[in-house]
Symmetry: C2
Subunit: 179 residues, 2 copies
């Protein structure tokens, strides 16, 4: 019987880097800001994205859980020990600090949002993406402080994705730009 | 004080379609096959993706939970009642049926995988994407039956994303092609 020579790659073949190498590595100019994320499992999944796409930092704001936390640990699988993070209760002061250097982009369905498929990322710019509460999204006072608004085009009955799924899509689109 | 005229869009402005309209709608030629997915929460999140990106059908195989199921309901938020689905214990018979019409693509890190950023989707083709077990991935016997292999480029210490995050990224990339 003919069989294709296809098999899962070993960890060695995947060229996973060590924790030490990650720390030394030049990060992509991407910051993730999580504001009032209710589910620690979502936070953990986003830490794994931060590791995979070599982001600079994750800010955890408002009610968002922060390490050490069992729920984060369960889904981050160690990525929370690798990716740089900080807890800041007040997101507005985080935005204020970052806005000198970063495009502050709210991931939200607003009247001013650009569709992700048409948004052009620039290799020379730095990006901070805000993801908000699973149900209520990003509040008006925060939207006011952003430079741009991106939404993921959706055609169905819900127009609502899980926040870590949504973060995966947006961060992938940004990360590709720096490959 | 100057304020930007930015606000979250109402459900009406989002143009969400009704359940009835979804059923009538021409679907994108995308099928999702979930094989041995351990977490019903991941299944639910993927149902939301299926709704958002108007996929044809979701096949749930092996140990993957299927509706009605509390875990799916919690994260699908009703999408499981909208998107067409079927439970088939044996994924190989699903692949066998679909392979006459669909490109069968395993989302897996294999020795033959193409990086997602280089994979060209074709408007004239139909795609069935397989996502496997959260830890052990897609088994060799299944890989043998696929036409192509795609992996998401990752640069960090883990090379492992949550399966619903991973599905979001791949389905987004395919969905964009049909916009």
């Amino acid at each position: 019987m003919y069989t294709k020579n296809v098999y899962q790659q070993s960890n060695q073949a995947l060229q996973r880097i060590s924790h030490e190498d990650f720390i030394q590595l030049k990060k992509n100019p991407i910051i993730i800001i999580l504001n009032n994320i209710r589910s620690a499992h979502n936070v953990g999944a986003i830490f794994r994205l931060g590791d995979a796409f070599i982001v600079q930092k994750i800010y955890l704001c408002g009610i968002t859980a922060h390490p050490p936390h069992k729920g984060i640990q369960k889904t981050a699988l160690g990525a929370e020990a690798v990716v740089d993070w900080d807890y800041q209760e007040n997101i507005l002061s985080v935005i204020d600090t970052l806005s000198k250097e970063y495009e502050i982009i709210a991931i939200e369905q607003t009247n001013q949002s650009q569709a992700l498929e048409y948004y052009t990322f620039c290799k020379k710019k730095k990006y901070a993406f805000i993801f908000g509460h699973e149900v209520t999204g990003i509040q008006p006072a925060i939207l006011q402080q952003c430079n741009a608004y991106i939404s993921i085009t959706q055609k169905g009955t819900k127009h609502s994705l899980n926040v870590s799924t949504c973060a995966g899509i947006v961060l992938w689109q940004a990360f590709k730009n720096f490959l």
